[in-house]
Subunit: 301 residues, 2 copies
Amino acid sequence: MELGIIGLGRMGQIVAERLIDAGHDVVAFDVDEAAVETMAAAGATPAESIAEVAETLDPKKRIWLMVPAGDPVDAALEELRPYLDAADVIVDGGNSHFEASVRRGEATDAAYLDCGTSGGPAGAELGFSLMVGGPEWAYEAVVPAFDAVATGPKGHDRMGPSGSGHYVKMVHNGIEYALMQAYGEGFELLHEGRYDLDLAAVARTWTNGAVIRSWLLELCEEAFREEGPELGSVADHVAGGSTGTWTIQESLEQEVPLPLIYQALAERFASRTTGRKSGRFSRRLANRLRYGFGRHEIQRR
Amino acid sequence: MELGIIGLGRMGQIVAERLIDAGHDVVAFDVDEAAVETMAAAGATPAESIAEVAETLDPKKRIWLMVPAGDPVDAALEELRPYLDAADVIVDGGNSHFEASVRRGEATDAAYLDCGTSGGPAGAELGFSLMVGGPEWAYEAVVPAFDAVATGPKGHDRMGPSGSGHYVKMVHNGIEYALMQAYGEGFELLHEGRYDLDLAAVARTWTNGAVIRSWLLELCEEAFREEGPELGSVADHVAGGSTGTWTIQESLEQEVPLPLIYQALAERFASRTTGRKSGRFSRRLANRLRYGFGRHEIQRR
């Protein structure tokens, strides 16, 4: 099928490449001309503006936004507005707040799919997990593209109506914070505890058959292997936190206690008030794991 | 190689079967005669007593204990005592406290390996993750057996001296409690939250490519598929807790804060004081997950 991709950052490039590799026709735009040229070399039709993306596409337009959450999404939608009608489908693949997605879905003439995207840059090889909210017909219309961008047909699903995709992604990230903190605490106790242990060997042994095996645990092993058993210069400073904050805000709204997710978020906040030189091993590992799965910049000390 | 296996419960049977399948010679004993007969039919040499296990084995005896942690380990060691010397190796594959393993290692004439075992009954197919503490020569002497019982050579390693295997397994379990609680909290918010979601579909979508993918998440999907999206009759009652308690005790000794692991343990305790009829979704999922990975009895309401 034919799709427009707006936004060719780290994640947008992967979306475009996976679509092209699967034989889809991609019209690509980014404010960064070099990114557009790279994608044209990979087989996309380059566009010089958002308007050109819309004008190049079929009458039934399918447009995937992969721009940073917040104002860039509204700005792209504003530029697309004159070209959109009820037969068109917009996919927002970023980390938007679910209420912003509901509002945008109501404000646009096109069908609006909010698409939570998980897997980070490693998804270039494996494909992503895609959590999609919005009208069923619009989801069905884009399934061939979701099959290509996700790990396969099992790696995407329609969660429910407008907003539900970003809602499920928000909770995914809340869980993610707690998982990172849980591994961090365990490795911190092993690091500070009474045996002199090879933490990379511990992580590798657990990864092979233990109940707690996971992708994040594989990334713990990678962190110890690449940074050393003391995590080298990795600082006690964990950046990020918006989706975790939203998860706790929603838990307050729903009156659902989330003590671990709250505490994991609180540990991030606390990491930003302590000195970067020393600090907690658990939070230094969380700092490094954010690089492992998302290629987020490592805060060094 | 030739090994004696003492204890043919759920886990001991799997250890024996994996050794036999790999071509090792197993001398098997359990207080339950039927379990011994089953294992004899599978190719083991049956023994009628612990003494007979010791008498049947080579002069250099390798004996794997897979009996419940605590008194049964001491009772088995007491019966073995007259037969053991410094060329022999004992493996304790149960969930013993690491300090008990150090004490037992000092008290026995044989080399003593404390072997944390993770993977639960699913390890019958995949093999276990084995975390081994004790003398290096003894570990090396048993490597062919560890290769067979673990997922393979990467699924076992010597953590360090006596006690370190059970120490690492203790921390593994502390992490496990927190991971279960983290997933439980996320699914509870999705369950109580503002969208009507298919939680099995959410878990499956996450399992395929998301950052939080893991074996426990696969077991969440299995739980929703087998028990239904409301978890059916699964009660808000999470049993178990000894290894998590030891983890927190050690964190107090080491003065390492483990807020998530502590809170996950506290949630278990709290689950036992509330009514089983209603209760928290997160803890009902934890109750079901303990069946998923360990075939521990599901508390029903």
